[in-house]
Symmetry: C2
Subunit: 189 residues, 2 copies
């Protein structure tokens, strides 16, 4: 059932790095994106896939991780993602991408969850450096990087009131806590 | 399986208008949105729900339908959506909403599909008029309107090459055809 899949699909940032994700699995995930909605059916998004250690090492240094965890610079060697899907906007097709990348990112992450994987949608990207590292042509806008792997951390949802903080935190046992607003707070009429 | 759900989740624009969608069903769909990812976990999105004929009639006139179907102004009375979820960005929480509304729209539409419903993500909205009609406070940005109902049309995917047109069309039998780019076209590396 979708609800279970959505609940299982938490944002994960630490992985069993040695767990390999095959290129074919990434293609299957992008196929879910391909079959998802696109504004005016323009389908301006393109994808780059990374699942080899050498290529992954070109991507990792240019990603920002967990802004609220001030004393954590990101996953250590051994706990890094096994794969990435880089979502690009093809400016030769459209100049604006609306929220198309959000639609497809959700399809891909739900598909990854179903495969027993997990990941993180990363918008904090050193775009110029990543473009150079992967030789991404200038007419592609870098929209999002999806990091994927076999999750190596526990993530739990916390329920908060309208006045509470929404910053996530990690406890002494390494469990990651994510405060979520209530349904009554977000439905306003 | 998710792939079947994504394939079933086509964009529908004609519905059995008399088929009622309960308020509780809309709340369950928004709960899927609530449990989905949000950039920096800010959760700046708010939702307005409509499922009563009188209230639906306030929303419908302000929506744009199927830009490529030049001779079709939108669903006729009797084939209009049974419900709407209006996705708002709360500017008191954030000034920018990234692609959060795409993420949640996909969760909601997949959830609707699982319930035997279908719908359409509508970005072409007369925002000022809709704001007035529903009395939406000024600090909420209108991001998307999700139209929902029990689909009354058949939608099929067509496969196209890189040089082909992506405009959807409706044939003499009323079947809606949607060209989709191939996997090999959208994966560029």
């Amino acid at each position: 059932m979708l609800r279970e899949l959505i609940i299982k699909n938490r944002t994960y940032r630490r992985f069993y790095q040695e767990f390999a994700i095959e290129h074919q699995a990434l293609r299957e995930l992008v196929d879910l994106a391909r079959l998802s909605a696109s504004a005016a059916n323009l389908q301006p998004l393109k994808y780059m896939l990374c699942c080899e250690p050498e290529r992954n090492a070109l991507v990792f240094p240019h990603l920002g991780w967990a802004g609220y965890l001030k004393n954590w610079a990101g996953p250590a060697e051994g706990e890094r993602p096994s794969a990435y899907i880089i979502i690009l906007g093809d400016t030769e097709i459209s100049r604006s991408f609306g929220c198309d990348h959000g639609i497809v990112a959700q399809s891909i992450l739900l598909g990854a969850t179903e495969k027993g994987l997990g990941g993180c949608m990363i918008g904090t990207v050193q775009r110029q450096e990543l473009r150079k590292a992967l030789d991404i042509p200038a007419h592609y806008e870098i929209l999002l990087v999806l990091a994927l792997g076999k999750p190596k951390e526990k993530v739990v949802i916390e329920h908060v009131g309208p006045k509470d903080k929404i910053e996530y935190w990690r406890d002494a046992e390494g469990v990651h806590h994510v405060p979520k607003r209530s349904l009554d707070e977000i439905i306003i009429g």
